[in-house]
């Protein structure tokens, strides 16, 4: 029996495991699949949008800056073309011009200067003391002399402050001269500096040599790495935006978006930490993954819990079924025992009858004359009487057996429970006497008749009687069976004064397979079957027990009428 139980536990455990695994796989796989697909699409889409966005941004700013430069250049050109060298070389006139420019356009123009073909600044209007400055050696001058219009890179120059120059070359009486204006670096710088997105996005302008033209928001050491490739490009399409992603020194991934300005002289670069730019995306991915993970945990716990529950239910159903099967087998066993008993009883009846009759014949013969004087006549008569008595005894025994056997069919019949009890007690008396147990019957007179399957009632009563006898086998004791009726309820009590049942076992005593008998002796099914039968009959069974005092089983059954058919 123990081995079977272990096998069962293994079976249920493996069943539970399989269920858990199935639920987990079936639930988690689609979760992960769908999650991954959606996340991937979102990721791709987001990247595209983000790139487009940044490119739009850079393009817009590039256009703004280019327009700005074009405008300023246009303003100076206007001045140069409207007024001639002669007029402009007058300092106060120049100052007027500067004032007017500043009035119209604000402090963008810092100063104006008129420089002759030798590089001498012949007139200057502005805040610095740059009158008579010589620019012959200056880089910008050299370049400005070569073209009609020239915008310089940002440099420090004589004033020692970063600025850049717009220069317009014109001719006066055969000689070239230059009208130059300084553009306020701060305003220009602010333009670019204020292009900020997120926490790490900022922009700056570089010239073709990689030198900064504006001061970037974050101090960065100019590294040529990412832009070297850009700077090599010959600009053919002014609207082209270049994008690249590189890791910097600290291992962070940075996005660079760049576009050429000022006809390819300058490069507007916008850079942002990849992480920063895609912060939302990362947040979303993390959120989604968190949800998936929690979901997965939830699924696992639910799987564990549900599977355990389900398998418990299955186990319970299996047990019930097993109990029913055993019940059927027990009933069938009882029926076949009954048939066997009946067969034997019938067979014994014949030889016993013949023996008794032969004894009777001898007695008849002894009445003849020749035997009347025999010394042993009394003894003959006594012996013959004994044969008859024992034969009578055999008859009673077979009578009991046959009576018991007859009740083993499970049809519903009219039953007087007291009669059943009497028969069963008679059957059990020998065994009881042998174990020094006395059986008392306390049966109510005129107990109501009820309809029931007598074999089932027999099973119950036999079980209880046998249990009591088994319990009191060693030391003997008393077994009392009581019947009573209350209204339409019949009560049966089977009490003994045996060793009793410990409290801890009392609550489990009707459980199937629960037994305290050693292996091979009891199956633990008897009481659970009784319980089942009594419940089926619509009754109740209770047990009370005190250690070393005794046990009482108390059955209550409703009186039933004949079955309707």
């Amino acid at each position: 029996m123990k081995q079977a139980k272990y096998q069962k536990n293994d079976y249920y455990r493996s069943l539970t495991r399989k269920m858990i695994l199935t639920i987990i796989i079936v639930s988690i796989a689609p979760l992960i699949l769908v999650g991954s697909i959606i996340l991937y699409r979102f990721h791709v889409s987001y990247h595209e949008k983000m790139e487009d966005h940044l490119q739009e941004l850079v393009l817009k700013h590039k256009q703004t800056i280019d327009n700005f430069l074009k405008e300023k250049l246009g303003d100076i050109r206007l001045q140069a073309e409207t007024f001639c060298f002669d007029e402009l070389k007058d300092a106060s006139f120049l100052q007027d011009r500067l004032d007017m420019l500043q009035q119209s356009f604000g402090p963008v123009f810092v100063d104006l200067g008129v420089v002759n073909s030798q590089g001498l600044q012949v007139a200057y209007a502005g805040p610095f003391r740059l009158g008579e400055a010589l620019y012959f050696e200056a880089d910008w001058f050299k370049k400005a002399m070569k073209t009609r219009y020239f915008i310089s890179d940002v440099f420090l120059g004589l004033r020692g402050l970063p600025h850049f120059i717009i220069a317009v070359k014109d001719n006066w009486m055969g000689d070239p001269w230059i009208l130059r204006a300084t553009i306020d670096f701060v305003a220009f710088n602010d333009f670019v500096k204020n292009i900020r997105i997120g926490e790490t996005g900022f922009a700056y302008i570089l010239n073709r040599e990689g030198k900064f033209q504006t001061k970037p928001f974050f101090d960065i050491t100019p590294k040529n790495e990412p832009y070297r490739d850009f700077l090599k490009i010959k600009e053919d399409d002014p609207r082209k935006i270049h994008t690249v992603e590189r890791k910097d020194d600290s291992g962070k991934m940075i996005i660079y978006v760049a576009s050429f300005l000022k006809d390819g002289d300058w490069l507007l670069v916008y850079q942002q930490n990849h992480r920063d730019a895609y912060m939302d995306l990362y947040r979303t991915i993390i959120l989604a993954i968190t949800i998936i993970v929690f979901g997965a945990f939830g699924i696992v716990f639910a799987a564990l819990f549900l599977s355990k529950r389900m398998v418990n239910r299955i186990a319970m159903a299996d047990r019930e079924k097993e109990m029913m099967d055993k019940q059927i087998i027990e009933t069938a066993k009882l029926a076949s025992v009954g048939k066997l008993a009946a067969g034997i009883a019938h067979e014994i009846n014949n030889p016993v009858a013949i023996m008794v009759e032969e004894a009777g014949w001898i007695k008849d013969l002894l009445e003849e004359e020749e035997f009347s004087k025999s010394e042993n006549l009394n003894e003959f008569e006594r012996a013959l009487k004994q044969i008859k008595t024992q034969g009578q005894r055999c008859k009673e025994i077979t009578h009991k057996l046959l009576s018991f056997a007859r009740k083993t069919d499970s049809r519903i019949q009219e039953t007087q429970i007291n009669e059943l009890i009497k028969e069963l007690v008679a059957l059990s008396e020998q065994r009881a006497k042998y174990s020094k147990i006395t059986i008392h019957k306390n049966l109510e007179d005129n107990l109501p008749i009820t309809y029931m399957a007598q074999s089932e009632m027999q099973q119950i009563l036999l079980n209880l009687i046998n249990n009591s006898v088994d319990a009191m086998e060693k030391k003997g004791g008393e077994l009392t069976i009581t019947t009573y009726s209350e209204g339409d309820v019949i009560g049966i009590k089977v009490s003994d004064n045996g060793p009793g049942i410990p409290e801890s076992n009392l609550s489990r005593i009707f459980e199937p397979f629960f037994t305290t008998k050693p292996v091979g002796k009891g199956t633990g099914l008897g009481l659970s079957i009784c319980y089942g039968i009594i419940k089926k009959m619509g009754g109740q069974i209770e047990v009370q027990s005190v250690i070393d005092s005794g046990t009482t089983f108390h059955i209550r059954l409703p009186v039933k009428g004949p079955p309707e058919s």
Binding site: A345, P351, A353, I354, E357, W361, T398, H399, S403
Partner: protein
């Protein structure tokens, strides 16, 4: 013991248990009852055709034929012949069936010899 005229009562005893039939017939002969033994239904019918009897004692549980069937045939052949049935314990229904089919009475086996004698005397006196 027996009755007025010293004329032996003639009974036909039908039972397939030879030991039983033989000893019963011996004992009865001591009481002025002449027993004809039939160990099967077939033998019983043969005996019936040969002579008349006062009573038949018929065991219902026999191997070759069902007791009730034999009873029915008896009642056809000799409707006036009273039949006492011997039934096994537990076959009371068979016994009641028998009564319905015309048997006079029944006794359960193993039966008391004296009881059987009393029953036979009952039958015979009710006829004479």
């Amino acid at each position: 013991m027996v009755e007025d005229r010293n004329k032996p009562i003639k009974i036909l005893l039908v039972d397939d248990e030879r030991g039983f039939v033989d000893v019963i017939s011996k004992r009865m002969s001591k009481r002025n009852i002449k027993v004809t033994c039939a160990y099967s239904g077939t033998e019983a019918l043969q005996a019936l055709r040969k002579e008349d009897f006062d009573v038949t004692v018929l065991d219902l549980k026999m191997e070759d034929m069902d007791g009730i069937e034999i009873l029915k045939i008896f009642k056809k052949i000799a409707p006036d012949l009273p039949v006492i049935m011997l039934t096994g314990h537990g076959s009371e229904e068979a016994a009641r069936d028998g009564i319905r089919f015309g048997a006079f009475d029944y006794l359960t086996k193993p039966c008391d010899f004296e009881e059987l004698i009393v029953k036979i005397q009952e039958v015979v006196s009710s006829r004479r």
